[in-house]
């Protein structure tokens, strides 16, 4: 269960000053889709949960683990938060093979999610020895999703993972994302600006607009 109740204040955001309030609870196995126009703060929200940005106030908890609590001055750095964040542009490490990329975030102790499972579900077994430069856009995103999963995250967050792909590749990768959500039953946040895409993947879709994350009525 991921509990988020935060205010974000970014006076120097790229497009315009950003004030954002987000409050939700996300149980395991649920996928919450977040829709919003560009500049509405979707990425900012995910980065705040991951610890890459600092909210102005509020609380972020995973079960009983407090990741952020403004009142108690608790703020775990990103590397201490078990999040699986899939970036829009994949961000695979170009000097490592696919397998090294996948293993990069694996904790030393054996986790719930194994390399074999991830390789099987995402069908990336044939790619393990390749470098990211030798992969297609769709393959890159599948590896990026696998890498995030092997971090053994308490929450999986995908930030427009399909937006860099053409329609044909999107249709190829989409089933894998659904399969990942069904197979690993993690609390999942799926962010996109395309309504059909979010609707197809998420259990419910909330909208981020005018600084508020809301369930549409």
């Amino acid at each position: 269960m991921l509990t988020v109740d935060i205010q974000i204040h970014q006076p120097y955001a790229v497009t315009s000053p950003l004030d954002l309030h987000a409050r939700f609870e996300l149980p395991a196995g649920r996928c919450l889709g977040i829709m919003g126009a560009s500049g509405s703060g979707k990425t900012t929200l995910l980065h705040s949960i991951a610890g890459l940005l600092s909210p102005a106030s509020g609380v972020i908890r995973s079960h009983a683990d407090v990741w952020f609590d403004a009142k108690q001055h608790i703020q775990l750095p990103p590397w201490q938060r078990p999040v699986g964040l899939v970036f829009q542009d994949g961000r695979l490490f170009p000097h490592m093979t696919v397998e090294q990329n996948l293993r990069y975030g694996m904790p030393v102790s054996e986790g719930q999610i194994s390399l074999q499972d991830v390789v099987r579900v995402l069908e990336i077994g044939a790619l393990l020895k390749r470098k990211p430069g030798q992969l297609s856009g769709g393959e890159k995103q599948r590896v990026a999703i696998g890498r995030a999963l092997l971090r053994q995250p308490a929450v999986l967050m995908m930030d427009e993972p399909l937006s860099g792909l053409d329609d044909h590749l999107k249709q190829q990768v989409l089933p894998y994302i659904k399969q990942v959500i069904a197979s690993f039953a993690l609390p999942t946040l799926y962010v996109s600006h395309v309504r059909e895409e979010v609707a197809e993947i998420a259990n419910e879709v909330w909208v981020l607009a005018q600084g508020q994350l809301r369930q549409p009525v």
């Binding site: 890459l52 990103p78 590397w79 201490q80 964040l85 970036f87 961000r91 490490f93 170009p94 904790p107």
Partner: protein, 229 residues
């Protein structure tokens, strides 16, 4: 005619030893300074940047003299080194290493800094979300992606050291077998009336060593590129 005399071989080996040690000595400080200048904003950034570049604009003899004042046997630090540990850097090949290291430092810092600035910070961000501390991120992502800069910096420092003259002769002296590297040996020979032929041999040798160093560096660079592809 084209076999090396033992004296010539000793000069070449000394030059290579000094240049190799110069690169090794500089590696960590140059990476640290390059990272500081490329990635950190702090008060006095411009001043540190200027100080690092100083050896590029100062006459080498001036730097050699400054080293003498600092590290010479009666220098501020040098006298303490001698009293405490009996370490004397002047007239010792380590003195030649230090003189060329000071001259090569800005070259190495510049090359590594350029490479560090080209590393995509978003990849470092991704590493942190994958549980990597800043130190792990630096050693597994940033530095490997900036390897070509470290290599280029190393080659520049090596070449600079091979050619170093002014700071070395001022600080370390021109002592045969100890601090008389190729340029110093050539200079010494040109000072004696019968030295022209021997000087010419060393000049040719010097060119050969430099060309060999360049070829090795190109080979290293190609290997590195292949491994990163």
């Amino acid at each position: 005619m084209w076999t090396l005399s033992p004296a010539e071989l000793a000069i070449v080996l000394l030059s290579l030893k000094v240049a190799a040690c110069c690169v090794l000595v500089l590696l960590l400080p140059a990476i640290g300074m390059a990272w500081l200048l490329a990635r950190k904003q702090f008060w006095g950034h411009a001043l540190v940047d200027a100080l690092v570049h100083l050896p590029m604009v100062l006459p080498p003899v001036v730097l050699g003299y400054m080293l003498l004042v600092l590290l010479g046997r009666r220098g501020w630090i040098g006298s303490w080194l001698y009293e405490q540990f009996h370490i004397q850097l002047t007239f010792h090949w380590w003195g030649a290493v230090i003189a060329s290291a000071v001259m090569a430092f800005p070259l190495m810092v510049r090359a590594i800094r350029q490479a560090l600035m080209q590393v995509n910070p978003l990849l470092e961000q991704a590493a942190q979300t994958l549980g990597a501390s800043p130190a792990k991120t630096f050693f597994t992502i940033t530095l490997p992606l900036a390897y070509h800069g470290v290599l280029t910096g190393g080659i520049l420092a090596f070449s600079r050291s091979l050619g170093e003259f002014g700071a070395t002769i001022t600080f370390a002296g021109n002592l045969e077998g100890e601090t008389r590297t190729l340029p110093l040996a050539i200079y010494s020979l040109t000072q004696s009336p019968e030295g022209d032929a021997a000087a010419l041999r060393l000049v040719i040798l010097s060119v050969l060593v430099s060309v060999a160093a360049l070829l090795v560096s190109q080979w290293l660079e190609r290997r590195l590129l292949r491994s990163q592809r």
